[in-house]
Symmetry: C2
Subunit: 686 residues, 2 copies
């Protein structure tokens, strides 16, 4: 099915004049201007999703999924679970959303998961400071260009998505000094790197005000993006709603490792809700305060990041946008296999490459258009300081290129900080077949005389000595050999001389049979709502005959409803057959379809058959079974395919069997055309 | 599979002496004393679930599900989704957890979703007031009985579950006055009905203190069980984490109805996380602060609560505990079909009966022991004032009978309050085939002279008149006929005389073509964690040969892993075959199993085969495929069944095919025994 949809795209892309063709020809959206208004209207009218608490006036950043949206999401997650958790034998987790503040303090979220906000000092309107500064500076540059009579070309390598994030500010044609223009351009290039204080200075120096009111703005204030609450009745236990599921994996690492019989590599995976209290969300499903994520944490030996299944994905082709290209200010993408990308060290290691390939396959499987999918590497200053490589799968929609899946090598950072904080070991113990034999300097103290000499200070002095590194010990050894004594400085500053009768430093041979290490973590992290929204845009087009009504060419595997069952009319001759096929009993055919896992719906409403089909085209329902006069006379059903509107006819049982096979992915439409006859009866009225 | 497990239960229940039989015989927990310590140890050791933030010291009421727990939960939810949403064509929803405070104010949760708490005035320990009072009174009654030399029989009709909720208080043998005993018994019978002030009086009058410290307790304070937070940066928008998913359905009712083409009955369904900030949770998975629910809201015409599929469930047998039995102080259960229960008006209506049957079937399908499942009706004082009937599915575990699914008829309450608050219509419009024709009294005012006469009061007077009921209008009509005038009282108390030249009341004929009504809501609501925990207890038993290790007889449909693949040893002769079957590539057999939706795991660890089987018995893995010497020589596999430990042998392809069929529920073990040969080779070493 998705192949069909892709063929249409290609056909119309290569022939934009299809607009002028007869109305039976399918018109893809790439030939038309994508009409966001009509598209949004479809999503709302068919209740894919709608603002939460709508009858109470709504609240920005919250959306409820209606029946087709929920089913689409559930189906995407089901594919995800099979593609990753089941097929790759990952360890599934389901940890709490409410998270003890200590955990998120350690992970750095309490201190660093913030944005800077400014307030209109008169009306109290709140803005995200960086977004506002960026919007105002860009509008002034645009105004300057207009005043200079230049076309406002998009700055090279500008990230499309940023345009959409911020409040749009109208430009006025005002020419500025050349030096000011330069300063503005410099600031814009640095915009992600400014601290709150620096943003405040820029606002002051460049007289940035609320573009709507002209009112002054407050000093930038840090705003933590986590929702906070209190656990239990005491008021003393603070909790946050998790901003990602990842920390729930990390703090359970030791139990997961044990479950995996102590072996790495392995991966944990979790699907769940996370929360970010965005300052001022404005982009529909792409920037929300509550969202469903699916995250994988793959634990790997830092010395060996190969992957046993690498060969299975090495031929997957990715559309890459590596960091060096971006750093040259370009956005040219390269098609390259995973194998080549890893071989040429563009992607850091096999495991990361393996996951890039698997993610690409997953996104294609659910119906994302591969031409609107790219794999963008983070530039040096974009990455967290601990990350060794990071790639985002960005999907192109009417909002630009939006990050939908992040694939980062988080190194040993998270496990290390939680382990340090809790004093719990979060490490892998590897039995070495060959013991690791090496020389090291060892300290021997003469405990009794040492204690008698230093009395109350003895313990502190010993602690300092025991804390020496091997390099320091080598120095002490040399000192003792030369001067027969060494000086130990305590934390307070006090110094004590230790003579060589009390301390010996000797080289010894160590033979280790167990290697203990903190694994590195490679994390593919999926924003399900963003993927779902992008998929809806990619699936949307309209027939020439009825542009106001859309079609969603969702692949059967994710389509909310797989099969529509329509009685041609409510004519009394049909009643016995309608009963047999549609009656709301468990022994009817529609019930059997549903029990075979094929979500079907009967539409016996009074609307014309064309309207009923159109309604289901908008829901993305790939197949329709029609009960008509021939059904009554000959026991046949017709089967309609959504994208082509082609119809086949056959015995009821055969049509049902073909439908099940089509929906379960065991058959394609071209195979169905061989199994059943082409329907040459009355054409449906569109 | 579940049939097998049930057979064991019956066998050992009828023959408790199985304990003395040879060690190969399977011993069910009903023959043994259920060992909660061993059971809990299994759940923790195998990471079914564990306290959240464990390495940070944990936090009461929060649990993380590990790999087998998550997979078990995901499988239960998958069955739920197929059994209800897909098979019954329900409208799935996915609404936000974070809920605008206005919504929960209207639903009554902000004001009424509270418990009373008291504090130890010295050490600050917090108790739920009703639980503490109940525990102390009961312990004193017990002490009294002991002093009187009576056995402390459980009070009739006492709800087992209550015993577990509260802090256990030790009793001391102290005799009390007969009148005091009576007073205590009266208070205990009323315990759920006391207000906070009344609880405070009882605490004072009966000198109830913290049983551990003897310290005085504070006055009861109301504590709202919802987690509160703030939305956005202003601090003015209050939100709560939803305590149930139901309100998300109700506020979307109009969109749902429209999606269903304006027709009732239909149902919406949602699976999701909810939160209750319990004062002092102590019962493991049965009382938690964050939990997964699955809720159905079925909208039905209040005048017609029949159900089109009723015949499909009318023969389902329920174990009923109706309210009249409980009100007589008894707990005798009756086995009765859904059809009889509705026919005899024990269950209020067909739709409610239908859902009781469907819930029963669902719980049996996932492996709940029907003998430990009862359907208890709420007594009059237990039900919400608006509910017309309510039944709880209670499952018996070591904690007593615990409510796991509630089925309530919520009437039109929720839709009505939201509609009143938002002024949005939440109603069904029914086109009447026969118009509804009736007589009614109609008011005619002479607008101009009326306005001139009453001037500024005209509008208020008219509003009062227009607000009259038909009965009041009939009175006014009579008055006008008799006295030629009527007196209208305004809200402030002012009276105005309206003469019959200004007002006429006439009988007119109304013909309505549309009936508008607020549907009633029947709600089955599932606590997934409680069901999951009960299922684990019901599935648990131990083999005579190794009591310390348990077996979980989970049905294949919900088992976390369906099939274990075990190479007998790491002998180099096995390597090629192991590679073919187990290698972590997508073309191996284990991968094919997984791709057929059969979650499988390879255990090639060094542990003995017996240990590896035992490990997977503890995980509830129903089948094991063993690669042994015969596999290498003859291309065969053996297939082991978990509960009987019986083994079959066959060609590799055949064994794989049988395993897939067994796991997908297309075959039972007895059929497998006919397809494959009994394995008579070396017996596995347990």
């Amino acid at each position: 099915m998705s192949d069909n949809a892709k063929d249409f795209t290609q056909a119309s892309a290569s022939n934009p004049s299809t607009l002028a063709e007869p109305s039976s020809v399918i018109i893809n959206k790439s030939a038309h201007e994508f009409d966001k208004t009509l598209f949004d209207s479809l999503l709302s009218r068919r209740f894919f999703f709608a603002p939460s608490f709508e009858i109470y006036g709504g609240c920005a950043g919250f959306f409820d999924y209606g029946p087709p949206g929920s089913a689409l999401q559930a189906n995407i997650l089901e594919v995800w679970r099979k593609h990753f958790i089941i097929e790759e034998d990952m360890l599934e987790l389901d940890t709490t959303i409410m998270t003890l503040s200590d955990v998120l303090k350690t992970s750095g979220h309490v201190d660093k998961f913030t944005d800077w906000m400014v307030k209109d000092v008169v009306n109290g309107e709140i803005f995200r400071a960086d977004h506002l500064v960026e919007a105002v500076l860009e509008s002034r540059l645009k105004g300057d260009k207009e005043a200079r009579g230049q076309a406002a070309a998009p700055p090279a390598a500008e990230d499309d998505k940023k345009k959409k994030k911020k409040k749009v500010v109208k430009s006025t044609a005002v020419k500025m000094e050349d030096s000011v223009v330069k300063e503005y351009e410099f600031m814009l290039a640095q915009i992600d790197n400014y601290t709150g204080a620096e943003l405040g200075e820029i606002i002051k120096k460049h007289n940035i005000v609320n573009p709507e009111t002209g009112n002054q703005l407050s000093t930038p204030v840090e705003f933590n993006l986590m929702f906070q609450s209190e656990i239990g009745p005491t008021g003393h236990v603070k909790g946050y709603l998790r901003p990602e599921t990842a920390q729930g994996h990390f703090i359970n690492f030791q139990r997961l490792l044990e479950f995996n019989n102590g072996r790495v590599p392995f991966a944990s995976a979790q699907i769940g809700r996370s929360f970010r209290n965005e300052i001022s969300p404005r982009q529909g499903l792409l920037r929300v305060r509550e969202f469903t994520m699916a995250e994988i944490e793959h634990y790997v030996d830092p010395k060996d990041k190969s992957h046993p299944r690498f060969v299975d994905t090495k031929d997957v082709v990715l559309q890459l946008l590596p960091k060096d290209v971006q750093e040259r200010g370009e956005t040219t993408m390269t098609n390259m296999t995973v194998g080549d990308a890893v071989g040429q060290k563009i992607v850091d290691n096999e495991t990361l490459g393996y996951f890039l390939g698997r993610v690409q396959l997953f996104l294609e499987k659910i119906g994302i258009d591969p031409k609107k999918l790219r794999c963008r590497q983070h530039m040096g200053n974009e990455m967290a300081h601990y990350a060794s490589d990071c790639w985002d799968f960005e999907i192109q929609s009417s909002y630009g290129w939006i990050e939908c899946v992040g694939c980062a090598d988080r190194s040993a950072y998270d496990l290390t900080v939680h382990s340090n904080k809790t004093k719990q070991k979060l490490v892998v113990k590897e039995n070495l077949t060959e013991p690791n034999v090496y020389q090291k300097l060892d300290i021997q103290l003469e405990a009794k005389p040492f204690g008698m000499k230093f009395k109350k200070d003895a313990k502190s002095i010993e602690a300092v000595i025991r804390g020496y590194t091997q390099e320091q010990l080598a120095q002490v050894k040399a000192e003792l050999e030369e001067k027969k004594e060494t000086t130990v400085k305590l934390e307070g500053g006090a110094e004590h001389v230790v003579t060589d009768d009390l301390i010996k430093i000797q080289e010894i041979t160590v033979s280790e049979h167990i290697r203990e290490y903190t694994p590195n973590v490679i994390e593919p992290s999926f924003g399900i709502g963003r993927i779902l929204y992008s998929l809806l845009e990619h699936s949307y087009w309209a027939r020439e005959s009825d542009v106001a009504r859309g079609v969603l060419s969702l692949p059967p595997v994710v389509a909310p409803i797989k099969c529509l069952i329509v009685p041609l009319s409510a004519n009394s001759d049909f009643v016995p057959l309608i009963n047999e096929i549609c009656k709301p009993r468990f022994d009817s055919m529609s019930a059997k379809l549903r029990r075979a896992g094929v979500a079907s719906r009967v539409d016996a409403s009074g609307a014309s058959i064309g309207k009923r089909y159109a309604r289901n085209d908008e829901l993305g329902t790939p197949y329709g079974c029609t009960i008509d006069f021939a059904s009554v006379a000959n026991g046949t059903l017709t089967l309609r395919e959504r994208d082509t509107t082609d119809q086949l006819i056959g015995k009821i049982e055969d049509v049902i069997a073909v439908t099940v096979a089509l929906c379960n992915g065991q058959m394609e439409w071209k195979d169905a055309c061989e199994k059943l006859e082409k329907y040459s009866g009355t054409q449906e009225v569109e």
